[in-house]
């Protein structure tokens, strides 16, 4: 197995890091303090990101993306993940890969403008009544000739306030299976402004200032069947085919933030003196650093191995689950220890640590909770044994 990075990968890391440090870091304090990413600021940074070819770099080259393999894409995600989420996700957006399922006119209307940065997407699965158990969703789409009538409520939907359209998951029927009834799910693309589709402000939350979640309400919302993404009743299949590595994307952004927290902690350990010496000379501090570095590396290896396997078409659900689980829990640990090493200063907003610590919290919940990832890992082990 080859672990060395290629020259291109090193260059991509470098240029993404430069962008993050020069264009995103300087605005973090403003976004964190105000809780708002000003549209003018967003547009200015976005224009630079497009110019640098960083915007939508997750997408294949044939639709205008950078055409990176999964490992290289994650190296880029790791660098972006260092910065405030609202800044990197909005200004250097990565449109959902699921848009690659667009066909015919959908490509011109949604996919290509999303890659060019002219339109932006959001994705709605979760409902007040269904989170981890997505297939239990109540939101439904009833056929009416060439149209579908959609009713239901989604919540926690990231970026829906800014997005020009939503990729909505709704139940379109039921089928009998040996294990009972199973809902059939279909993905629809719905434009903002479609009658019957209302976006309400979501909840205030502890993580990711400057970014918002929303509540989406569908009340007899009529959409033409041409708005189906993929095939009817094949919503999860479309997601499986294209969404693929989003859990690895979460893992990679966690690696970047953990690395940044560790950098601060290392520096503080040599700069801060107590009892007449650098605090890093105390075993109580230095052993923390050793554990943080080791955990970070372990998460990195799991993530990058899964990425490599993904490209070889060898990645299993368990590989992805392990990477996501380890990286998100590692970040929580590293962020917490970095604060501990800083003492009181670690909690002050002058340093990025308190927000890395706050932001870390959501990572163990979205894209599948830690429990769900453990469930996936354990099922993969036990099922072959008849468990």
């Amino acid at each position: 197995m080859e672990f060395a990075l290629t020259e291109e990968q090193q260059l991509i890391i470098q240029t993404t890091r430069d962008f993050v440090v020069n264009e995103l870091y300087p605005h973090e304090a403003e976004v964190e303090e105000s809780g708002v990413l000003r549209p003018e600021l967003r547009d200015a940074i976005k224009a630079k990101a497009i110019e640098a070819g960083l915007y939508a770099a997750n997408m294949p080259a044939e639709v205008g993306g950078a055409g990176l393999d999964t490992l290289t894409w994650l190296l880029y995600e790791r660098e972006l993940g260092r910065a405030n989420y609202a800044l990197h996700w909005t200004c250097v957006a990565r449109p959902s890969n699921i848009l690659m399922a667009c066909t015919g006119e959908q490509r011109e209307k949604y996919l290509l403008p999303a890659v060019r940065g002219e339109r932006s997407d959001c994705m709605a699965m979760t409902e007040p009544g269904v989170g981890s158990d997505v297939r239990g969703m109540k939101t439904n789409a009833r056929r009416d000739g060439e149209y579908f009538i959609i009713n239901g409520t989604k919540h926690f939907i990231s970026h829906a306030d800014e997005a020009d359209f939503v990729i909505l998951y709704a139940a379109t029927g039921e089928e009998e299976t040996p294990r009972g009834k199973k809902k059939l799910i279909t993905a629809f693309i719905i434009d903002k402004g479609t009658p019957g589709y209302t976006i309400r402000p979501g909840y205030k939350n502890v993580s990711h200032r400057g970014y918002h979640n929303s509540i989406l309400e569908f009340s007899d919302c009529r959409v033409h069947q041409s708005q189906i993404l993929g095939e009817l009743h094949q919503g999860f299949e479309v997601a499986n085919d294209w969404l693929g590595a989003t859990r690895l994307q979460v893992a990679a952004t966690c690696l970047g933030r953990a690395e940044r927290a560790l950098e601060h902690a290392k520096q503080w350990a040599v700069d801060r003196q107590q009892f007449g010496q650098q605090i890093g000379k105390f075993q109580g501090v230095s052993f923390k650093l050793a554990d943080m570095a080791m955990e970070l590396k372990a998460a990195e290896l799991l993530t990058f191995e899964a990425a490599w396997k993904f490209d070889q078409k060898l990645a299993t659900d368990m590989d992805m689950a392990m990477a996501k689980l380890k990286a998100t829990e590692m970040l929580a640990f590293v962020a917490d220890e970095a604060i501990q090493i800083h003492g009181g200063m670690g909690l002050m907003s002058d340093l990025p640590l308190e927000r890395i610590w706050r932001d870390a919290r959501v990572e163990r919940i979205w894209e599948g909770t830690s429990e769900i990832q453990r469930h996936i890992i354990s099922r993969a082990m036990l099922r072959p044994l008849g468990g």
């Binding site: 020259e7 291109e8 090193q10 260059l11 240029t15 962008f19 950078a66």
Partner: protein, 249 residues
């Protein structure tokens, strides 16, 4: 072919806190991040802008250094240089040797303009550009903060102690660039992938008829003395008081 040559030196990244080796023979380089000398990056940016404005046809990045300097040349290619030349050297290159190699390349490539950084941030010699102009027998303008191409003439604004000085020099010429000339671009992601296909020739000193001789001998590297801790004063009055006591006000 209006060709611009740009010198690209591999140096320790500006953000690295260098450590002197315990035996004083140099600074520790293992595992240290290396980059293009920042002034050379500015030189390259200027060359690329000239090409984009139609004032040049080809931009060639050239470096003298170890095998690994290919990384910096790849970066230059990804930024937009058309091709690159690495002259391999496994030992430190003195300014005169660099100037001899660059002169030979300038002649072999029939260069119209050679752009180099005013100095490299490792040894801060600030000599290569000047020596190159002398050896090549062409005009030079150093510490450029603005460069305009006026046909066969280059108008260069220089940063000098007294302010700004503007020179007009005939092409072909050598220009060494200063910090304020421009702000280098980000390497574009798609261009990184394309850079791999651009030619990078690896050459030897012999290919350019240069025999590197050691004229300079470094006797010792020492870290600068650590500055003693400052004191905090509570008011302007107290500050003036302290300065007076030290005989500074």
């Amino acid at each position: 072919m209006r060709r611009i040559l740009v010198g690209i030196k591999r140096v320790v990244d500006y953000s690295v806190r260098v450590r002197v080796k315990p035996d004083g023979t140099g600074v520790a380089l293992d595992g240290v991040k290396m980059s293009i000398n920042p002034f050379d990056e500015i030189a390259l940016e200027e060359a690329l802008r000239m090409k984009e404005r139609g004032e040049a046809d080809e931009v060639v990045a050239m470096s003298i250094g170890p095998e690994e300097a290919q990384q910096q040349l790849r970066t230059a290619l990804a930024m937009g240089a058309d091709r690159a030349i690495l002259v391999k050297s496994d030992t430190a290159v003195e300014p005169l040797t660099a100037a001899q190699v660059f002169t030979a390349i300038a002649r072999a490539e029939d260069a119209r303009l050679v752009l180099v950084g005013k100095q490299a941030i490792d040894d801060d010699a600030n000599q290569t550009g000047q020596m190159l102009a002398a050896l090549w027998g062409r005009p030079q303008a150093t510490f450029a903060s603005k460069v305009e191409v006026l046909g066969e003439v280059l108008r260069v604004t220089r940063e000098v102690d007294a302010g700004l000085e503007t020179l007009e020099i005939d092409l072909p010429a050598v220009v060494t660039v200063d910090l304020r000339l421009n702000e280098p671009r980000y390497v574009k992601l798609p261009d990184i992938m394309k850079a791999k296909k651009k030619p990078l020739d690896v050459k030897s000193f012999a290919d350019y008829g240069v025999e590197p001789t050691e004229r300079l001998k470094v006797t010792l590297y020492v870290a600068p003395a650590t500055r003693s801790k400052g004191i905090m004063v509570k008011s302007v009055a107290e500050l003036v008081d302290v300065l007076k006591k030290k005989g500074l006000a």
